[in-house]
């Protein structure tokens, strides 16, 4: 089990694929996604890596967080999340992850806090039908109607009623990574992702689908990606030289 990535939601747009079909995509930006600390099973009882995201002033962090960041020699982040990993996928402290952590057409799960809708009624929150517009109904056209039956003298637990809608953590499974821009740190995820713009999205390999064999193990690091690109360029230059 590999760790994931923390990304910022930029917004939605559309691109054209190789068959000239339109694909709706959500843009996510990965910035300053570094390993701050590592949890180990013998010491902490579980294996995990703590990742950072975003950049902000160091004085805005609290003291324990600052100590962790200084120890790892990192830029002060806006957000930190832990990701459970298997012992073979632990990433060393201080290494920076890149969007090349995922590969094209890979399936991922996206976790985020959904857009808050406030205190919503039954029609908006649970798709209830509401009451009739006429035939003697007054002042209660969007009501939820009955909440039980005669003789029970109670309302069952979990009855769908008006209440807070949205602004709670949600995971959408099996989203497709359409494309990525390693240089800019941009990910294109097909379809919608929970959360509002500029909210933090946690991306992980899809838990319910087999993992692609092309993914980098234990993680796609930024340095590694650069090395790879340099190697590619060198190879291209060599080829060009050979052709001449």
């Amino acid at each position: 089990m590999r760790c994931g990535l923390i990304a910022k939601k930029i917004g939605m747009t559309r691109v054209f694929d190789e068959n000239a079909q339109e694909v709706p995509v959500t843009l996510l930006k990965v910035e300053n996604c570094c390993v701050a600390t590592v949890r180990q099973a013998d010491k902490d009882g579980y294996d995990a890596v703590c990742l950072t995201a975003g950049v902000q002033k160091a004085e805005r962090l609290n003291k324990p967080q600052r100590a962790v960041i200084e120890k790892a020699n990192l830029t002060a982040p806006q957000k930190m999340y832990e990701f459970r990993v298997s012992p073979d996928c632990v990433v060393p402290v201080g290494s920076e992850l890149s969007v090349s952590h995922f590969v094209k057409d890979q399936l991922v799960d996206a976790t985020a806090v959904t857009q808050g809708k406030g205190f919503a009624g039954g029609m908006k929150r649970w798709n209830f039908g509401g009451l009739r517009a006429t035939h003697g109904i007054s002042l209660s056209h969007r009501s939820i109607g009955s909440t039980g039956q005669q003789g029970m003298s109670k309302v069952f637990k979990g009855k769908k009623m008006p209440g807070q809608m949205g602004a709670k953590q949600m995971t959408i499974q099996n989203l497709v990574v359409h494309d990525m821009d390693v240089e800019q740190g941009l990910l294109m995820i097909k379809g919608a992702v929970p959360g509002h713009k500029n909210s933090w999205i946690r991306l992980k390999d899809a838990v319910k689908k087999p993992l692609s064999k092309d993914v980098p193990m234990p993680a796609g690091l930024k340095a590694a990606a650069q090395v790879k690109e340099v190697a590619k360029e060198a190879a291209a230059q060599e080829e060009a030289g050979a052709q001449e």
């Binding site: 747009t13 559309r14 691109v15 054209f16 843009l27 941009l186």
Partner: protein
């Protein structure tokens, strides 16, 4: 410029489309690529542009024509790779950006006057 705009700008540049300066009221010839099995051919769809929607990569334009006495409207994505070329045939003189009123008009009432002065101006500029 924010990240989304920059991204869309880059994608639009990558598409490398040579789009003429047209607006609602203009008569267009849209050359569309059509795939039939392995073969690809070009089909020309000609009609009046009744709307343009500007939305970055999601920009579209609507072309209306009367085909066998039946009004037909097609909405084309402006940056679609399936559009080979957009040809401006005639410049119309209209007062609105969206000509949805054309849908209820037929025959003589559905005419759009040609903007001769503007056409002349564009021709002169092209000559220069």
């Amino acid at each position: 410029m924010n990240v989304l705009r920059l991204f869309e700008k880059k994608k639009i540049e990558e598409a490398g489309k040579d789009i003429p300066n047209f607006k609602a009221g203009d008569t267009l010839k849209v050359h569309t690529k059509i795939k039939e099995g392995k073969n690809e051919r070009i089909q020309i769809y000609e009609g009046v542009c009744i709307a343009r929607k500007n939305n970055g990569m999601g920009s579209t334009f609507t072309v209306r024509k009367i085909s066998f006495n039946e009004g037909v409207e097609r909405i084309f994505p402006l940056y679609s790779p399936n559009i080979e070329k957009i040809e401006k045939v005639r410049i119309g003189k209209v007062r609105r950006a969206k000509l949805y009123y054309m849908r209820v008009l037929r025959g003589r009432k559905a005419r759009i006057v040609e903007d001769i002065a503007k056409a002349q101006k564009e021709r002169n500029e092209a000559k220069k």
